[in-house]
């Protein structure tokens, strides 16, 4: 795989049973690249190792006063020079290519896994872990996978040079051959401690960065109310802690550096001491002595690869383990048996088609290309949203409202009786088709970064134009704000939205999210508190716009705003998990005290009254529980 051909058309199915298996799988999948890197590595390290021989040869030529042999040494060096330059450059190219292809493959696998997990991610701790693998672990994994072939080349070279030295000059060669392995492993015992200290330093640095960015994020609060000195002092403490940790870590690394100077130095001295005696006895030439000395100096370079591979492995092992764990996550780990969602995750539209066939048996409405339609009915609460009408749902408990809204879309996180759309249980439809039939916009819809055009470019019926949706959601001022905040966009559609729409106010974000949902134009649209952060003037206009745009389509709005409720065809009060009242707003406001309590502002007396009622409810429940217990013990 060449870099310019990335990304992979298909990153493959990883062996994610364990960290080492995953590393092995990655390495095996770029066997060719590894071999190329090994070959160039041998050329590079081999050429480097011939230089000492050239130096010794030249010195010997000079000692023997032979100009011809000096010239020959020069010629040999030129050859070594070419081998070295070509070998080094192409080793680097091969190694970097291996690194990048491995990193790109893991990133691709992560992206696919993330979309497959979809909403399951936000419910789980896994979300942070997926991101951690992508930002930190991929580099380490790529490093180790790449370093293997480079290390192998270095190790092979060292063995060959040792053999060569023993053959070329047995007496001195043996000294070097014994000494080098000692050098190779000498600092390894120190590495775990050094990396631990480095990790500790990173942790401290991470905390300091967090403090700094947290302070900046809340800077408007600080500037508005005070306390700057308090936070500066705190940051200074953290910053100094980072410094101390870094210096502590540097102590360890500087010790390692000293050892890396000391040990080769001792070997050099041994070589000189023994070699000079041999030279004096005439057993070796001066040139040979210089060769051996120079070899020891130069071999410290391939020797460093022992350290590197040890470090790469110790860094990449936990990373690979984490990556393997993330890549083996499934949408519903706890689901009994196979679940449609766990197979046909979002983002696999292309492949979902073939799988649908296996699910299609039960209902005729799931025939390819046709989505179920009709009334939306939730058997658990008795909530009915008639086809083609605007239904508003009022629910005293916002959490319960959120759960109910989620259930209306099918495939909820908590299993239960399925919601029916035109009589078809949504939970039995493949996930992607259920999502296509019913769009649930939750309380906290996320605006994805990119241009406004990209934001609004969602899978849609194509019947609602962006302009119409933006107008219905009252987005004019949002468009103006976007143009003002962007660098060179005159067309608001080209204006960029930052991550999560942070540069916009809460109300502006809500309106853009609503516009996006309106463009999708699904058979059934479920909105959970879509205008909670919008001012009353605008909310009234949105209510009107929503009604017009969704005319003839099924819409369910969870809200407690009279401005929205007043425009609904049908208002349903859900209380304690069941439908308590159905009607229109004006009628319910007068007839139904529980409805009035949620929708209009409670007076103090009403609040007190409902408080008493709640307490009463609780007492009653306690009694029931006690009865249950008595029954059970009996």
């Amino acid at each position: 795989m060449q870099i310019q051909h990335l990304p992979y058309p298909d990153p493959g199915v990883p062996d994610a049973r364990s960290g080492p298996r995953f590393l092995w799988w990655l390495g095996r999948n770029q066997l060719r690249g590894q071999l190329v890197s090994l070959a160039w590595g041998l050329l590079h390290f081999g050429s480097v190792s011939t230089l000492p021989f050239c130096v010794g040869f030249a010195v010997q030529a000079v000692v023997e006063r032979s100009g011809a042999r000096l010239a020959l040494a020069g010629g040999l060096m030129a050859l070594a020079c070419v081998g070295n330059a070509v070998g080094d450059t192409f080793l680097h190219r091969a190694a970097v290519t291996n690194w990048i292809t491995a990193a790109a493959r893991v990133q691709q696998l992560l992206a696919r896994k993330a979309t497959q997990l979809g909403s399951a991610l936000t419910r789980r701790v896994a979300a942070g872990e997926v991101v951690a693998v992508s930002t930190g672990d991929v580099e380490k994994i790529g490093w180790f996978v790449e370093a293997v072939s480079r290390f192998t080349a270095a190790a092979v070279t060292i063995v060959l040079v040792c053999i060569g030295l023993v053959v070329y000059q047995p007496a001195l060669g043996v000294v070097v051959a014994v000494g080098l392995p000692v050098l190779a492993v000498a600092v390894l015992p120190l590495l775990p401690r050094a990396t631990r200290r480095a990790d500790f330093q990173r942790e401290k640095a991470g905390y300091a960065t967090e403090l700094a960015s947290d302070t900046v994020a809340g800077l408007r609060v600080l500037r508005g109310i005070g306390g700057e000195e308090l936070f500066l002092a705190r940051y200074r403490r953290a910053s100094q802690e980072v410094r101390h940790a870094a210096v502590r870590s540097a102590r360890m690394w500087s010790l390692i550096s000293a050892i890396q100077v000391l040990l080769p130095g001792l070997l050099l001295i041994a070589v000189v001491w023994y070699g000079v005696q041999l030279a004096r006895q005439g057993r070796i030439t001066v040139g040979e002595l210089v060769t051996v000395y120079s070899s020891v100096m130069i071999l410290t370079y391939p020797l460093r690869h022992f350290e590197e591979i040890a470090m790469a492995y110790s860094f990449s092992r936990p990373s690979a383990k984490r990556a393997a764990r993330v890549l083996s996550l499934e949408r519903f780990m706890d689901a009994e048996g196979a679940d449609g969602g766990s197979l046909g995750g979002a983002g696999e539209d292309a492949r979902a088609g073939s799988r649908e066939a296996t699910h299609a048996g039960s209902r005729e409405a799931t025939r390819v290309g046709e989505l179920p339609s009709g009334d939306l009915y939730d058997p658990a609460t008795g909530l009915l949203a008639p086809s083609g009408r605007l239904t508003a749902v009022v629910c005293g408990d916002p959490d319960a409202a959120g759960r109910l809204a989620e259930r209306l879309g099918g495939h909820p996180s908590e299993k239960g009786t399925s919601v029916l759309l035109g009589g078809v249980p949504l939970d039995e439809l493949p996930l992607d088709r259920a999502r296509a039939a019913v769009l649930v916009q939750d309380k906290d819809p996320v605006l994805l970064s990119g241009s406004l055009r990209e934001l609004l470019d969602v899978p849609a019926s194509g019947k609602v134009r962006a302009e119409a949706a933006l107008a219905a959601a009252q987005c004019e001022d949002v468009l103006a704000a976007l143009v003002q905040g962007s660098l060179d966009a005159d067309d608001p559609m080209d204006a960029r939205i930052t991550e999560r729409g942070r540069s916009l106010s809460g109300g502006q974000r809500q309106r853009l999210a609503l516009a996006r949902s309106l463009i999708t134009d699904p058979e059934v649209l479920v909105l959970d508190e879509p205008t909670s952060a919008v001012d009353s003037h605008t909310e009234a206009r949105i209510a009107e716009g929503l009604r017009e745009l969704r005319a003839g389509r099924t819409t369910v709005v969870f809200t407690s705003s009279p401005l929205l409720l007043d425009r609904a065809d049908r208002v349903v009060l859900v209380h304690e998990g069941e439908v308590a009242a159905v009607g229109v707003h004006r009628e319910l406001v007068h007839k139904e005290p529980r409805y009035r309590a949620v929708v209009t502002r409670e007076t103090e007396e009403e609040a007190a009254l409902s408080g008493v009622l709640n307490e009463f409810d609780v007492d009653e429940l306690d009694e029931l529980d006690e009865l249950d217990e008595i029954e059970e013990t009996a």
Partner: protein, 593 residues
């Protein structure tokens, strides 16, 4: 065709308008000079330690050269024992000092880095509130994370290592000159190639690496967003598009990797050839000189071994030089914050009384476009004024002007007769506080989160403030009480609890005038109602300007101002406005049914 052109798409190119300035070269230079001055001693020490380390490292080649000379001359007495003893001594010195060099380098780098990041935060927290409101915190945030990160490497490694490398090369060349001047001249033969190659490379490298790392960050950012938006992605069936986006980011990133790889494919042979040329020219030129009898074999040996040692420092310099160039850009962004004039204000301007008065105020964010036009308003002490109106009408802007965050373009806003915009920010906030929907809970203890409003408050006062906003119930239930860590990474508070903390801060700061901008808008309605009761207690006795987005807030106000299109179109009490039967009355009817 040989060579790779830089990719057309540059992920490092700015996409949003830079709202904060970037430091001018002169400012950056002045800052660097100051930084050096502050750490001059540490620098000199580092160079001294490094000199000892390098000089002792040359003892080996020198001593071996002497031995070679004597052996090849067939001298009887070699003094091998003494030589080896010297060798050992030099090695011990070298090892000790190499350790010192690494350590001193790290200490110096860490000091400079700590100075830099602390300086930056000091400057940031001193920014005028108006600048922050206008610029937002995004740009500042990216400077304190991304740019500090990039500088960390430069300060921690590049600066000390470059200092070490340069001294190292100079000393080795000096050693060559001392050993045999002609050999030093031979080294220069390799210089032209190195200079040409490096110029070519360093002209392209820094920008390319910046783009490359921005490209890589974009890969991770795309995935992080997919994960963060998991529910939205699934609901809108955006999975395939997110995978596509991730792959596009990978393509963009790897295109830059390919380009920088090409740059190195040019640089690497240059360096390799340079190294061997240095060694070869020393041996060949020196060899000829020895054959001519102008130089000894020992000198040649020493020279060759020193030439071989040049590999390390040259590699060091090349390795860290581009890091330094990348760091320059980040430094300019950090130092740029220093270019913003802190608005000093006039300490002599102090309010006399508590009434707020706006007199024919005009204001606009962009030249020529006024958001507010000729707005006049009077708020008597203790009054509750509600601003209502459609989004974008200018309510929030008016609120910020009344809180002293922006200065009017024309007209005056006064508090107790003194012009708000001429008071220092610290004085303004002791009188007026703006409460918006940003209920930031800082990382740290609950205590720290409250103390910021009144740093000298004792625990009893903190509890009293929590009690005043109905928050003492859940706060007392916390196992560690005020020491509980909250904020990101700590105990997650509900939006309502975060709001209560914001209100408790107000109780502690105790300003007599409050501007509330959609303070409860991000809360779900039920929590909002509960909070409004706590809020009512906090507001008691204060002047309140409420930017109302729920109509019942307006209903309770003494005066309601309807803001439409930058002007106040209706002004009066609830009863008066309903009776007047204008825009407000229409809205009220649909709200209340």
């Amino acid at each position: 065709m040989i060579g790779v052109a830089p990719p057309a798409y540059d992920p490092a190119a700015p996409t949003t308008a830079h709202t904060l300035p970037v430091g001018a070269p002169a400012t950056v230079r002045a800052y660097v000079a100051e930084l050096f001055r502050r750490h001059r001693r540490a620098f000199l020490l580092l160079i001294a330690v490094n000199t000892v380390a390098v000089v002792s490292s040359m003892a080996g080649p020198y001593l071996l050269g002497g031995l070679v000379e004597r052996v090849s001359d067939g001298a009887r007495e070699l003094h091998l024992g003494v030589t080896v003893a010297f060798f050992l001594l030099a090695l011990a010195v070298q090892a000790v000092f190499v350790r010192e060099v690494r350590l001193r380098g790290a200490i110096l780098g860490e000091r400079m880095l700590a100075d830099l990041r602390e300086d930056f935060l000091v400057r940031s927290v001193g920014l005028p509130p108006g600048v922050l409101e206008r610029a937002g915190t995004g740009d500042l945030l990216s400077r304190i994370t991304t740019d500090i990160d990039r500088l960390a490497n430069a300060m921690r490694e590049a600066v000390p290592q470059l200092a070490i490398g340069v001294v190292w090369v100079a000393l080795l060349l000096g050693g060559l000159v001392v050993t045999a001047p002609p050999l030093a001249a031979a080294v220069l033969l390799a210089l032209p190639l190195l200079v040409v190659g490096c110029r070519w490379y360093f002209r392209r490298a820094p920008a390319a690496y910046r783009s490359e790392s921005a490209g890589y960050a974009a890969v991770a950012a795309a995935l992080a967003e997919t994960v963060d938006a998991g529910r939205t992605v699934e609901a809108h069936r955006l999975g395939a598009r997110r995978v596509e986006l991730s792959e596009r980011r990978i393509k963009e990133w790897t295109a830059w990797e390919r380009y920088t790889l090409w740059l190195r494919s040019v640089l690497f042979p240059v360096i390799n050839v340079t190294h061997v040329t240095v060694l070869a020219s020393v041996l060949m030129v020196g060899g000829v000189f020895v054959l001519q009898g102008w130089l000894g074999v020992g000198q040649l040996t020493t020279g060759a071994l020193i030439a071989q040692m040049l590999v390390d420092p040259v590699g060091l310099i090349l390795r860290w030089y581009d890091e330094l160039q990348v760091a320059q850009v980040s430094l300019a962004r950090l130092v740029g914050v220093r270019d913003i004039e802190p608005d000093a204000g006039d300490p002599a301007t102090a309010p006399d009384g508590r009434d707020v008065h706006a007199d024919r105020v005009h204001f606009g964010y962009v030249e020529g476009v006024d958001v507010l036009r000729r707005v006049s308003l009077e708020v008597a002490p203790g009054t509750r004024l509600a601003l209502v109106g459609p989004s974008g009408a200018g309510k929030s802007t008016l609120g910020r002007l009344l809180a002293g965050i922006y200065a009017p373009r024309e007209g005056r806003i006064t508090l107790g007769g003194a012009e708000l915009s001429r008071m220092p920010a610290e004085r303004v906030r002791s009188h007026v506080a703006l409460v918006n929907q940003e209920h930031h809970v800082f990382v740290g203890s609950l205590r720290d989160n409250l103390l910021l409003a009144r740093p000298d408050a004792v625990d009893a006062e903190l509890w009293a403030a929590l009690g005043a906003v109905d928050a003492d119930g859940w706060a007392r239930a916390l196992e560690e009480g005020l020491d509980t860590d909250v904020g990101s990474g700590g105990l997650a508070l509900t939006p309502a609890q975060a709001q209560q903390i914001a209100l408790a801060r107000l109780v502690l700061a105790d300003p007599h005038t409050l501007v509330l901008d959609e303070a409860t808008s991000l809360l779900d309605p039920r929590a909002a109602r509960h909070l409004e009761r706590s809020l009512a207690r906090v507001l008691d006795g204060r002047t309140v300007v409420a930017i109302a987005h729920r109509l019942h807030t307006a209903h309770d106000a003494d005066v309601i101002a309807v803001v439409e299109n930058g002007r106040i179109s209706e002004l009066g009490s609830h009863g008066e406005l309903v009776a007047a039967d204008g825009a407000y009355a229409a809205l009220w009817r649909s709200w209340h049914g």
